[in-house]
Amino acid sequence: MSTPFSLQNRDIWVIGAAGYLGQEVVKLLTALGASVLCADLPGKAQPAPNTTPAGLDAADIPALEKFITDQIAARGVPHGLVVMTYAGTAKKFDELTAADFDHANHGNLTATFTLARAIGNAMAERGSGSLVLFSSMYGTVSPDPHIYEAPMTPNPVEYGVGKAGIQQLTRYLAVHYGKSGVRCNAISPGPFPNPSVQHDEPAFIDRLAKKVPLGRVGQSPEIAGAVAFLLGDTSTFITGQNLAVDGGWTIW
């Protein structure tokens, strides 16, 4: 298909591909012509045309390193990497232990760093590639506790701390790999509650929507365009950026 946004003949790895947002990303990438390695926790990623489902617990660092080596041996160095994993607890602020906090940081930051560096180094050796890391609006601004009234669980501190770290990791990797032709950008989604929350918690959805200039929560297909844009050839002069897909959440 002749569009400047085409991803024909590109191999993209999506980590966290079976999630609510991940599935839509994979759909658009394959529609644009890419082949996609869909990694998620074992048993989660389902087969689909032009995708390879794979089981991976990205927080298990030795398993992650073996996964990268094996997959590069099997399919080569990818053209793009999308990291959509996250870790957090459902604990209240005062109940969070140091071990919980370390555990979340490990999943959010250490695993993403390990993954992005291994793939980034391989891309740098080839001289091209695009890394897309998922941050969040809560990597930029603090959650408003009033939005998360019971029965909702407050958005936990360790989640946003990790997502803020992703924004700086993005800038650092952009500088580190820039001269090697490898770009690195972040995407910060706004409120994208999954369909069951949208269905079961109308009052919560209403509170979220009121916080958004566009007046509504995001729907999963609306995240995919930003990912495809940052992976493809129309963004080849863009690196080190954080692209908010948040209906305007962070501007007011």
Binding site: M1, T3, P4, F5, S6, L28, A31, L32, R171, A174, V175, G178, K179, G181, R183, G190, P213, L214, G215, G218, Q219, E222, I223, A224, G225, A226, A228, F229, G232, D233, T234, S235, T236, F237, I238, T239, G240, Q241, L243, A244, V245, D246, G247, G248, T250, I251, W252
Partner: protein, 252 residues
């Protein structure tokens, strides 16, 4: 690809007789939009056939509203506006004059405000949504010496983008921006030639991707922001600078 298609849309691009604006006009046209181009000069030869061209000086009294009227007459489905017209008139700060300050702020900031207002009034009257993209600059975020009026005007455009996004969201109009870094255009070539041995070398060293940008590097981001692929993005400014500002510009 449908997500990035502008088929069925019509766009006015101000300041599109050359440089970044001309590349944007080409990009929107290629994505399937009907396009109205605008500039100070006679119609440039490089514009695709079928693109309407309206010459006028936006700084003339009432010119913004008149341009919108003429653009609607040419393309009644007009629902997309790119405020791109702008220039650089600074001399060293201690020598700046009121006339040069006024000229800079009038062209870069004031005409964007009133062109966007005339465009939004039309859409709101017609009960239709739409999209606006404003060209600011990395100078809207990071200061450059002896570029004071220009920097202020571009900083103003950064906030104009966010403030308009909040004001127009209830009307279904998304407002986003691009912030180009150092891009080779007829406007910047003059500066680049005169500073080829010092400042330009420093900039080239600071641009992570190793080269000055092309006007075409800006076109894809604008197409993306105007397209359905960006339906949940508003108030966002995409920096297109090859990483120039990621670790700050500084001086040689």
């Amino acid at each position: 690809m449908k997500a990035f298609s502008l088929s069925g849309h019509a766009a006015l691009v101000t300041g599109s007789s050359q440089g970044i604006g001309l590349a944007i006009a080409h990009g929107l046209h290629e994505a399937g939009a009907r396009v109205v181009a605008h500039g100070l000069q006679e119609r440039p030869g490089e514009l695709p056939e079928g693109v309407t061209y309206i010459p006028c000086d936006l700084c003339d009294h009432g010119a913004s509203a008149k341009l919108i009227e003429r653009a609607i007459a040419a393309e009644p489905a007009l629902d997309t506006l790119v405020c791109n017209a702008g220039s650089f008139f600074d001399v060293p700060f201690l020598e700046m004059t009121e006339a040069l300050w006024d000229k800079t702020l009038n062209l870069n900031l004031r005409t964007a405000f009133f062109t966007a207002q005339a465009f939004a009034r039309h859409l709101v009257r017609a009960g239709r949504g739409g999209s606006i993209v404003i060209t600011s600059s990395t100078n809207g975020f990071q200061a450059e010496s002896d570029s004071v009026a220009y920097d202020v005007s571009k900083g103003g455009l950064v906030m104009l983008t966010k403030s308009l996004a909040v004001s127009l969201a209830p009307h279904g109009i998304r407002v986003n921006g691009i912030a180009p870094g150092l891009i080779k255009t007829p406007l910047t070539s003059v500066w680049m030639e005169s500073r080829a041995n010092d400042l330009l070398k420093h900039y080239e060293k600071k641009i992570l991707l190793g080269h000055v940008g092309k006007a075409e590097d800006c076109a894809g981001a604008v197409t993306f922001l105007c397209s359905p692929a960006a339906s949940y993005i508003t108030g966002e400014i995409i920096v297109i600078d090859g990483g120039l500002t990621t670790s700050q510009i500084g001086k040689p």
